[in-house]
């Protein structure tokens, strides 16, 4: 069974509702504040009937508008020119034409409203810096998947037959895994969120006391009295629970029912609790893949993967974020499956490059010696009451030293015939993998005082970011650069 996309066709009939809702949302966003202001200012000069009447008229107008925009919206596939065309607009008619070979991703998404009505939206992302993104807001699932496959099979439009039965997912995350992921990752982001919340609370508290002219000093005095050891413990425990709680909730909202389905040489990834997000991952467009694991995750046997597709050249932040796909909580076999899917093999680590001990030297100067000297100077010459606190420098120095040591220990570069793997991190240990032919440019760098020691740095520029290896053996680095250049310039493989 094949569907004909070559004739212009409209969206699902329920699309009117979506368009109506979208327009309503836009209008409300634009006029809500001034409207409330006007209503408050007029102080009920107009009766409730008047306001209701105006609102009804307004909704009617919007509904008519939605109906017409639904009528005017059509899309079709031009097989001869290999183009996908969208016509829309009531007063200003516009035609959007997308060449099929420019299409990078086709996403099928569903918002809450769309879930209720039972339709999907189909978004088309194109490569290139020009912003030309198309979106069909209401389409049923069967049509959407068919259209998606047609759009992505640019080369052989006739031979494409669509398998309607969805194949078994190659990776599916259970709720237990999500819970594990939530507990063990993203502490930083959640702590930031929590801090924002606490500061917001403090600000609110201040405003509140200012507003009601409460005697603040009393409250602060009581607060500091009751701030004993137990309450601090309680507070830390509470903060921990809140951080973990937000982490788990965030993880569930983003990755609920996360699954990966193998689809004609590509991976279709879908996840999400409130809105289901679908993305398509094409192996040859992958520029860099990374996986990270911390101590707890290692014990639980899970790791977070990140796959980056070409990001530069796309105009805005939003766009480049979309091209990064995160796969949380996969275990070792699943990770290997995905890597095999992307690279046709599991990248093996080659010989390791180990950074020179000078890696630590500058960091120690900057993060331990410098601050210590500064604070000693400050405490003795400027502000004497600070002196008793100088002892705190010792635990600080020990902590930073331990962190730096771990950073040094994890900073490694592995290179073999096809792959470069860079390992780094202090707590979350990340391994970034790139294929040699994905390199765009190579920089080798040396400070002039490192010439004798034969120490230098390496920067590999890719379309998904820079890989930076510091304080390596410079002649070794240069040898590798020569080897990679040889590979790069010999290969017929393109980077995208």
């Amino acid at each position: 069974m094949d569907q004909d996309f070559s004739k212009p066709q409209k969206q699902s009939a329920t699309g009117v509702i979506i368009m109506f809702a979208n327009n309503l949302q836009k209008v409300i966003r634009a006029v809500a504040l001034p409207l409330i202001f006007i209503v408050l200012k007029s102080k009920g000069n107009y009766g409730i009937e008047f306001i209701l009447g105006i609102s009804f008229l307004f909704l009617l107008l919007l509904a008519i508008y939605a109906w017409f925009s639904y009528q005017q919206f059509s899309f079709f596939l031009d097989e001869d020119k290999q183009e996908f065309v969208i016509n829309e607009g009531i007063f200003n008619k516009s035609t959007l034409t997308i060449q099929l070979n420019k299409i990078q991703q086709v996403n099928i998404n569903q918002s809450l409203l769309q879930q209720i009505i039972g339709v999907y939206s189909l978004d088309i992302d194109t490569a290139g810096s020009e912003k030309k993104e198309a979106s069909i807001k209401a389409i049923d699932h069967l049509t959407a998947t068919r259209l998606k496959q047609r759009l992505l099979s640019e080369r052989d439009p006739i031979t494409t037959t669509v398998a309607v039965a969805t194949p078994k997912p190659m990776l599916k995350l259970s709720n237990a895994t999500l819970l594990k992921v939530g507990i063990t990752s993203n502490y930083g982001a959640s702590i930031l969120l929590l801090m924002g919340f606490i500061f917001g609370l403090i600000q609110f508290f201040k405003d509140y006391t200012a507003l009601f002219e409460v005697e603040t000093t009393e409250i602060y005095a009581e607060l500091s009295q009751g701030f004993g050891f137990i309450s601090i413990c309680f507070f830390i425990g509470f903060a921990l629970i809140v951080v973990l709680g937000t982490n788990i909730i965030r993880t569930f909202i983003r990755y609920f029912q996360f699954q990966i389905i193998r689809q004609k040489g590509a991976l279709a990834i879908s996840s999400g609790l409130l809105t289901r997000k679908n993305t398509l991952l094409t192996p040859k467009k992958v520029q860099l893949s990374a996986y990270s694991q911390n101590y707890f995750q290692k014990k639980l046997g899970i790791s977070n993967m990140k796959v980056k597709q070409a990001a530069y050249g796309t105009a805005d932040e939003e766009e480049s974020k979309k091209s990064h796909i995160e796969i949380p909580g996969c275990n070792e076999p699943e990770r290997q499956d995905i890597l095999k899917m992307i690279y046709d093999q599991i990248p093996q680590k080659g010989k390791a490059l180990i950074p020179n001990y000078r890696f630590l030297f500058l960091q120690i100067m900057l993060k331990i010696v410098g601050p210590s000297v500064l604070s000693c100077f400050f405490a003795f010459a400027v502000y004497q009451p600070l002196q008793p606190y100088l002892a705190l420098l010792i635990p600080y120095a020990i902590l930073v030293l331990i962190l730096l040591y771990f950073e040094y220990k994890h900073h490694r570069l592995y290179a073999n015939q096809g792959f470069i793997i860079k390992k780094s991190g202090i707590w979350d240990i990340t391994e970034e993998i790139i294929e040699i032919h994905k390199i765009q440019a190579i920089t080798s760098k040396q400070y002039f005082w490192h010439k004798k020691a034969d120490v230098g740095h390496l920067l590999l520029h890719t379309a998904a970011g820079v890989i930076h290896f510091k304080y390596g053996n410079y002649s070794q680095i240069n040898n590798l650069v020569n080897y990679w250049l040889y590979q790069l310039e010999r290969t017929k493989k393109d980077w995208i």
């Binding site: 765009q440 440019a441 760098k445 310039e489």
Partner: protein
């Protein structure tokens, strides 16, 4: 089927990018740097003169300020000189090399097959001396691009032509 070989390669026999003799920038480029520095000096000198004329309190330190300023300028002059002297570029069969930097000397290499587009800029002063700046862009964003100033305009055009030809050969 093409002839297929897979002999082991000796890394030491590969072309060594670090041993390629580099073309230094055109000596005329130094003049442009001097002109730019001169403009900068003129502006700052006027600023300092005004400061000394209208602020009575600083007047006591006139000698110190002028001394420090002169030292700074000489230092700047020397650093720029060393910087320009160190820069160099080379076009090989399959890639382009650019070395620059004073404290950290970095060498960036872009294979022709990874070049996205090329721009040739002529500034006001560089036109006076028939010089141009080549900018070579890759998909690696800003960090993966090259800006080579101070090339003789004719040579720059030739390099651009050559690179363009190489790019179109790739497709």
């Amino acid at each position: 089927m093409q002839e297929f070989t897979n002999d082991p390669i000796d890394i030491n026999l590969l072309p060594q990018f670090q041993e390629v003799p580099l073309n230094s920038l055109s000596p005329k480029y130094w003049k442009i740097v001097v002109i730019n520095m001169g403009i900068f000096m003129a502006v700052t000198t006027i600023g300092i003169i005004f400061l000394l004329l209208f602020n009575a309190e600083i007047k006591k330190y006139t000698g110190l300020i002028i001394g420090a300023y002169l030292v700074l300028m000489v230092l700047m002059f020397l650093l720029y000189r060393a910087d320009v002297n160190r820069r160099g570029f080379a076009v090989r069969e399959k890639d382009i090399i650019y070395r620059h930097g004073l404290i950290a000397i970095s060498t960036t290499i872009i294979p022709f097959s990874r070049i996205q587009h090329i721009a040739l800029d002529e500034g006001l002063f560089s036109r006076m001396y028939q010089l141009g700046q080549l900018r070579i862009f890759t998909a690696g964003g800003n960090s993966g691009s090259l800006h080579i100033p101070g090339i003789e305009i004719e040579e720059a055009r030739q390099i651009k032509e050559l690179l363009m030809r190489q790019i179109s050969l790739q497709d």
